[in-house]
């Protein structure tokens, strides 16, 4: 039986797709059979971040409509054989996703996979509500910035009331905070909300902090999830996040400023 994880935020541009790509790759690299689904119907982008955009033949909506089988639509990752991508449809028909259709695809996937990562679109429209509807766990991606924090809180309200678990009175979705684009320097200068500030406002369990990093754009430029860039700060931060999610006790990093050497200080390196 698979565990269904939704990566959500409410606000756009905070790093949901980057996070979905990194976490699904991380889980697969740990040996878990993982499927990652793009729920952003009409604005498909996960394929591009995963570097498989030229291999898309069938999509999520084709599977729901019975025009293709799951096996035909799933794209096997070239770097990790445990990872499969289910791309979003580019149709403009917003009604193509249905509760029943999504439920059936997830049920079929659950037979073969250990983890199903649902990459939610921004907003609170159908794609976003369906991405979280069947979730067991929710990773709430938040930037240390007022509109993102507010939207995350709104998503928490929706997770607690509009999900399958909420409607059927089951144990609620496990919610985790992932703070992205974090800049310890700006926090020290009083220009950015700190991890503690955001946690205090949202009262969520902290899954990890991803620092603002050049590696993220480099990764999306080349279509390789940033977690594969093992030397980068963001790559290491995501690797920690995956280990933490799997239950390991990993100390938080990238929250404080890097201590510079004397030479580094002198030359501003």
């Amino acid at each position: 039986m698979a565990r269904i994880i939704v990566v959500t935020s409410g606000k756009g541009g905070v790093g949901k797709t980057t996070t979905s790509a990194a976490i699904s790759m991380g889980l697969a690299l740990k040996g878990h059979r993982t499927a990652v689904i793009d729920f952003d119907v009409g604005l498909r982008n996960l394929d591009l971040i995963m570097g498989c955009e030229r291999r898309v033949v069938y999509d999520f909506v084709n599977v729901i409509n019975g025009e293709a089988t799951l096996n035909q639509a799933l794209i096997k990752d070239k770097r990790c054989e445990k990872l499969f991508i289910l791309p979003a449809s580019q149709t403009r028909d917003k009604d193509s996703l249905t509760v029943e259709g999504v439920g059936k695809v997830l049920k079929d996937l659950a037979k073969d996979f250990d983890y199903i990562v649902c990459d939610s679109p921004a907003g609170i429209e159908r794609g976003a509500t369906l991405a979280m509807y069947y979730a067991d766990d929710a990773i709430v991606v938040t930037n240390p910035e007022v509109s993102s924090v507010r939207d995350s809180d709104r998503m928490l309200g929706i997770l607690a009331s509009k999900s399958r678990r909420a409607e059927q009175g089951e144990e609620p979705i496990k919610e985790y905070l992932l703070l992205t684009r974090y800049s310890p320097v700006r926090v020290r200068l009083g220009e950015m909300l700190s991890v503690e500030d955001v946690q205090e406002i949202l009262s969520l369990h902290l899954l990890g902090v991803i620092p603002e990093s050049k590696a993220v754009l480099n990764a999306s430029n080349s279509g390789a999830p940033v977690i594969l860039d093992e030397k980068s700060d963001a790559g290491q931060a995501y690797a920690d996040v995956v280990r933490r999610y799997l239950g390991e006790d990993v100390t938080h990093r990238f929250i404080d400023e890097e201590k510079k050497s004397l030479l580094g200080r002198l030359f501003g390196g």
């Binding site: 709104r154 200068l189 909300l193 500030d197 406002i201």
Partner: protein
């Protein structure tokens, strides 16, 4: 933050302002959560009916919904004006 402000220690950092604003906003939005969305409309229409008979101030009516395990309470609170004003109700 300028150097002078730094030494005076007067101006709040923008992060502190952000936190304060968010705490107020999030608390407010959480209290509104789960309430039926017809409340503002109900409040407006009730006010219109009452104002046919009594000249009440639009601000002096409030409708709220409270919920506990086994019941929901719809509370309607109207502050009537002083006697002098009450004698000349607005007829529509």
């Amino acid at each position: 933050m300028g150097l002078l402000d730094y030494f005076r220690g007067t101006r709040q950092s923008s992060a502190a302002i952000a936190k304060e604003r968010l705490q107020i906003l999030v608390a407010h939005e959480r209290s509104e959560r789960g309430k039926p969305d017809y409340l503002p409309m109900l409040q407006k229409e009730l006010l219109e009916v009452i104002r046919k008979y009594v000249n009440v101030d639009p601000e002096s009516i409030s409708v709220s919904m409270e919920q506990d395990d086994n019941r929901e309470i719809l509370e309607l609170n109207i502050i009537l004006p002083d006697d002098g004003e009450r004698k000349k109700p607005k007829r529509v």
